[in-house]
């Protein structure tokens, strides 16, 4: 489902980062662990096609996304990858529902309100459907961000430090939700984190140093 091949990347004026090859099969859950500065976020951005590798390739669902043009990779990402960022960002002028509908539309899928509300219901946040995202608590925001990453039924879910801003209770809750939803969609889940609380939950681990 997701594999890398001799992946490397260098920011201008900085030493090259080399990543060991790995392969995740469909439906597997993986952790990418490493300290700050070890290139965790860079790896996630490479996997999502948000950065183009200096060399090597990322193969996602049979497509070498490192070879796609800018526009095509935006389209591919929108349709196949759900991404959750460390801090959740939303379109401030839109409600929770509208944010999710926009995600469907920008990825080129038809608008499906019942799917949006169903998803929010499963994540126990449907009562905030019409709220502005900035009125929600951090935990609620993270749940909406998860809902947004799942709204197009992605084949792969990438999460960047999804729990670092959360307390133990919310951390447990959010992780459980992620695993559960990924399982229901049979999607590959890859969580990038330095959060020790997750180490014992997911056995497939990639260590960066």
């Amino acid at each position: 489902m997701l594999s890398t091949n001799a992946l490397s990347f260098a920011y201008p004026g900085q030493p090259e980062l080399n990543f060991a090859d790995f392969e995740c099969r469909q439906g597997e859950h993986w952790l990418v662990l490493g300290q700050s500065g070890s290139g965790k976020t860079t790896l996630l951005h490479l996997l999502a096609g948000m950065l183009t590798p200096t060399s090597g390739s990322v193969i996602l669902a049979g497509t070498n996304i490192s070879r796609l043009s800018g526009k095509a990779v935006d389209k591919f990402r929108g349709g196949h990858i759900g991404i959750i960022f460390q801090r959740s960002h939303f379109i401030k002028s839109l409600s929770v529902e509208e944010n999710l509908l926009l995600a469907q539309q920008l990825a080129g899928f038809p608008i499906d309100r019942s799917k949006v509300s169903g998803l929010l219901e499963r994540l126990n946040i449907v009562h905030k459907l019409k709220s502005r995202p900035d009125r929600l608590s951090v935990g609620e925001q993270q749940r909406v961000a998860i809902a947004r990453s799942l709204v197009n039924t992605p084949k792969i879910i990438l999460a960047d430090e999804p729990t670092s801003a959360l307390d133990d209770l919310n951390c447990e809750y959010v992780t459980q939700l992620l695993e559960q939803q990924a399982m229901e969609m049979n999607a590959t889940l890859l969580i990038v984190t330095h959060d020790g609380r997750l180490r014992n939950r997911i056995s497939n681990q990639i260590h960066l140093n």
Partner: protein, 423 residues
């Protein structure tokens, strides 16, 4: 959730910025609309009231004043001329002159001017009688349609005229005979709607009782000679001891002789001849500089509003960097982001234009009441000039696009990885 809705919601999310941009834009566009309407209507009125008159003859003074007072009835006359001197231009059979319409000014009724003239005046303004009949005897008067509407005078009504052109109870000619309304004119849209027409003899007789008494605005009044009795059958140019204010002349053809005639009159007689077209152009060039200044101010306001749109888009994009990166992550192409920001600029400009058009037309309508009181010409805010207004709309939208250009480029070039990696 299309891109238009999203750009509108983004604008609405910053209500104060939205308000500032709209107010600025509407002010600039509104001022331009107002000037367009005012200029168009003033130009239209002045050209229409020129009524094919090629030359105005009157007493020496300012030629512009002569034209304004005799053709447009908005200034005081330059004085009076003896018929004895004007006679050569009034007699039928002059080789160059087709019509010569005499005007005897000096009195008014409720601020509307009473004009002693010949029936040729009606032909000059393409006016015709709607009710009653033309004036025949002294003290018979025909009302312009606007006068009839404003004063409420009807056929058979009688009134005393007032000396000079301003409404003042102390100047009413109580001792003179009362005027009798014998006719009312159809509406023409020209200045004749605002006049009361009678024979020159009536004006002479009203003033016949005053002797040489001086009244305020005396220079505007026709002077008169004791005991002169008017004889209706006698042609006007035979009253050699009387005076009129001016003559409106139409030439048979325009040729070298008619072109040099005004100069001949000015150099060789005590009379003054003025060319209305020439004086009008002079007036427009005088008024035009004021109008140009106002127009420049309107353009400056529009430029400032473009700057304001640019600054608010630019600042809001700085704040929305994450949102733009996020939209890219969700599948939006760079073109789509460019389109979104362009649309925000266009939307602001379009709404600003709409409010500006409303402001301009409503402003003109409010102003028209005041202008009508001052000039007695009808003005309206509900006149639409498709050509210039569409041009303004096009220009306005272009301003929106230009203001949004740099921010839209900035949106396009957002580095999504870098932006989203910042925490």
């Amino acid at each position: 959730m299309n891109i238009l809705t999203l750009s509108w919601k983004n604008l609405k999310n910053k209500p104060l910025n939205l308000l500032l941009n709209l107010v600025l834009f509407a002010l600039g566009a509104g001022l331009i609309i107002l000037l367009l309407l005012l200029n168009h209507q003033l130009d239209d009125q002045l050209r229409r009231n020129q009524a094919g008159v090629n030359m105005v003859i009157g007493a020496k003074g300012s030629p512009l004043q002569l034209v304004l007072s005799s053709l447009y009835h908005i200034d005081s006359p330059t004085g009076n001329i003896p018929i004895a001197k004007a006679k050569p231009f009034m007699r039928p059979g002059h080789p160059l002159i087709k019509t010569a319409v005499p005007l005897a000014l000096g009195d008014s009724y409720e601020g509307f001017r009473i004009v002693g003239t010949s029936p040729d005046m009606l032909a000059l303004y393409h006016a015709s009688i709607a009710q009653g009949q033309p004036w025949q005897h002294p003290f018979e008067v025909v009302l312009g349609s606007g006068v009839a509407r404003s004063t409420g005078l009807k056929l058979g009504s009688r009134f005393h005229s007032s000396h000079g052109f301003v409404l003042d109870d102390n100047l009413v000619h109580e001792d003179a005979d009362a005027f009798l309304v014998t006719g009312i004119l159809k509406q023409t849209g020209s200045v004749i709607d605002q006049l009361l027409l009678t024979s020159p003899q009536s004006v002479w007789e009203v003033h016949g009782d005053h002797g040489t008494e001086t009244a305020p605005h005396d220079s505007t009044a026709v002077t008169h000679h004791e005991g002169a009795e008017a004889e209706p059958e006698k042609p006007l140019y035979e009253y050699e001891d009387k005076e009129i204010t001016s003559l409106l002349i139409q030439f048979k053809n325009i040729n070298a002789q008619t072109l040099s005639l005004p100069r001949n009159i000015n150099e060789n007689t005590d009379l003054m001849a003025a060319n209305p077209a020439f004086e009008l152009d002079r007036l427009f060039s005088l008024v035009g500089s004021g109008e140009k200044t106002l127009r420049a101010i309107a353009v400056i306001i529009l430029i400032v509003s473009a700057l304001s749109i640019f600054i608010s888009l630019y600042a809001s994009l700085k704040e929305r960097r994450y949102e733009l990166a996020l939209m890219r992550v969700m599948g939006a192409s760079p073109d789509k982001l460019t389109g979104l920001v362009m649309l925000e600029g266009l939307l602001l400009a379009a709404m600003g234009c709409v409010f500006g058009f409303m402001l301009g037309h409503i402003g003109m309508e409010l102003l028209s009441g005041y202008l009508e009181k001052t000039y007695r010409y009808p003005f309206t805010g509900w006149l639409f000039l498709p050509g210039p207004e569409l041009q303004l709309l096009g220009g306005g939208l272009l301003i929106g696009l230009i203001a949004a250009f740099i921010p839209s480029l900035q949106a396009r070039l957002t580095d999504i990885s870098e932006t989203l990696a910042e925490n």
